[in-house]
């Protein structure tokens, strides 16, 4: 195990190094390392605090874990629909996917426009700053709250769900699109400007073609997120679709097997979507 070897002298140094000066790897602690250590220490400390302050509701954790494992086995090994027919489940999935698609399309169209205005190299600092600040605010509010807020005025249903989710999508995509636009080589824009091209010409002929693989890739990533979002809105805001079915199966019928079936369905679609997104990224060779 220990194969420490004494070091053969490389050559004869004129001056013996002053060993005492280098007792440890005493490199000066740079700011980056310090910040990383601090961040990790804070993460750990807050985690301990979290476990100490959790509301356990007198739960027997050991039994709960055993119970979960047992439930999980039922869930995964004997999935079955009882309260819904297969057609109804498929319909639910179709609604959820449609919600996700609508949200993504509306979000992408709006985000394309605002993203151009938010990109520093295409817009004035004031407008760019205003839009970026605005979307940072929109993004900070959880999607479910947007949906519930819109539901007060529009009533629960697809209108509130799509509007609320599209809101959050715009917030997300404007940031992503603007960053993609800002990546565009300033030399290219300069070259086109030198030819006398107008702003729209530059956007359509240089910026969009250059950024399009990033735009596409981010949009698909968002579609994936919106699929999960649409599911959640169904469960938590009663927006319909498979999420609502999942909520009913779990919280109303207490039917593990049905939850299992719906979980499998969601898992299958999510895996397909993830594969498509990955493929798009590989094909377009972009990193998001």
């Amino acid at each position: 195990m220990q194969r420490e070897q004494s070091l053969a002298p490389l050559w004869q140094p004129k001056v013996r190094p002053r060993l005492g000066q280098h007792r440890a790897l005493n490199k000066p602690l740079d700011k980056g390392t310090l910040f990383m250590r601090l961040t990790m220490a804070i993460f750990l400390a807050l985690t301990v605090l979290a476990f100490a302050s959790f509301d356990y509701q007198g739960l027997n954790i050991y039994n709960a874990f055993l119970g979960t494992i047992a439930n999980f086995r039922v869930l995964m090994l004997s999935p079955q629909l009882t309260h819904f027919s297969l057609v109804e489940a498929a319909e639910g999935m179709l609604i959820t996917l449609s919600l996700a698609l609508l949200t993504t399309v509306i979000g992408a169209i709006l985000a394309l426009f605002f993203g151009l205005l938010a990109a520093q190299n295409l817009s004035s600092p004031l407008i760019s700053g205003l839009i970026k600040g605005g979307v940072a605010f929109i993004r900070a509010v959880p999607t479910i709250l947007w949906v519930l807020i819109f539901a007060i005025a529009a009533g629960l249903g697809s209108v509130a769900a799509v509007t609320g989710m599209a809101f959050h999508s715009v917030g997300y995509l404007v940031k992503a699109y603007a960053e993609a636009f800002e990546e565009v080589d300033s030399g290219v824009i300069e070259a086109l400007r030198a030819t006398g091209a107008s702003w729209w010409q530059i956007v359509c002929q240089a910026v969009l073609p250059t950024a399009q693989s990033y735009l596409l890739s981010w949009t698909f990533v968002r579609f994936e997120i919106n699929f999960v979002g649409a599911l959640a809105m169904g469960a938590a805001a009663g927006a319909g679709g498979l999420g609502f079915d999942l909520f009913l199966a779990s919280a109303h019928y207490f039917d593990l097997r049905e939850v299992g079936f719906i979980t499998y369905l969601v898992l299958a679609v999510a895996l397909v979507l993830e594969t498509i997104t990955t493929q798009i990224k590989v094909r377009l060779r972009v990193q998001t």
Binding site: F35, F54, L102, V105, P142
Partner: protein, 261 residues
């Protein structure tokens, strides 16, 4: 020839856009979403928000209890992220091409991660509610599973991107697997990993709000309570508190990123 190429390119773009438009129409039909109503009610909603959705003096008395709930949500999100990051590091080391131990373990860790992250947090919550009931652990575990799956994937990518060349160099010096992991892979990847953890904390706070509505915990519970009792002034205060929290965390995260990356 080149003119043909340009025409073909343009018509391809057009076809894709038309297809997407058709799909959107179908989706609108299926969900009975009417874009015009959508737009009008969207504007209505904003008008309503401006007129009614703001905190008043009375709602401020709720602030201490809201802050208490907020603390629960933030701590839950951070705890889920930390625990998930630790577990994900092991899985990602086994799953990354550059640091894998063997192909069987690599496949196992990759498929586990894919399985966990593709079951949405909502589904996890619905499953965990059976046994963990309305305790904090339901939300924590639901966040943990989805965070774990996500971080495993991005950690794998980080390891593969940042370290292939230094791994070769250390292998050539005769270093062992553990030495390479601790001396090259982790030091090189740590900033990226921390950056992802910070991102997950932000995401998890938003997701925890949603899970809180379902499981009756944290800030989500506060919002649901005021929302259902139509105390919109207090509900708006909850939204403001969440927004401020997320923006502060985003600001701190960006600052940390600037220093460490």
């Amino acid at each position: 020839m080149s003119a043909d190429y340009l025409i073909k390119k343009r018509s391809n773009t057009l076809k894709v856009l038309l297809g997407l438009g058709f799909l959107s129409l179908a989706a609108a039909f299926i969900t009975q979403y009417d874009p015009v109503t959508g737009l009008i009610s969207g504007l209505d909603a904003m008008r309503w928000v401006a007129a009614n959705f703001y905190p008043n003096e009375q709602s401020l008395t709720r602030l201490p209890s809201i802050m208490n709930r907020l603390r629960e949500t933030v701590l839950m999100s951070i705890a889920a992220t930390t625990v998930a990051a630790f577990s994900a590091t092991f899985f990602a080391l086994l799953g990354a091409q550059t640091t894998k131990v063997n192909d069987a373990l690599r496949l196992m860790s990759r498929s586990t991660a894919a399985f966990l992250r593709n079951i949405p947090a909502v589904a996890w919550a619905m499953i965990l509610l059976f046994t963990f009931g309305q305790s904090s652990l339901t939300g924590f575990l639901a966040l943990f599973f989805s965070t774990f799956g996500f971080l495993s994937r991005v950690f794998m990518e980080t390891f593969d991107e940042t370290t292939a060349s230094s791994i070769e160099a250390l292998t050539a010096t005769g270093a062992s697997y553990m030495q390479i992991i601790f001396q090259a892979v982790l030091p090189a990847s740590l900033p990226q990993m921390i950056s992802w953890m910070l991102y997950m904390v932000e995401t998890n706070i938003r997701d925890a709000t949603l899970l809180g509505i379902l499981t009756g915990t944290g800030i989500g519970f506060s919002f649901a309570l005021f929302y259902k009792s139509m105390n919109y002034h207090a509900a708006s205060l909850v939204v403001i508190v969440i927004v401020v929290t997320i923006l502060v965390i985003e600001y701190i995260s960006n600052h940390i990123r600037r220093v460490i990356l």
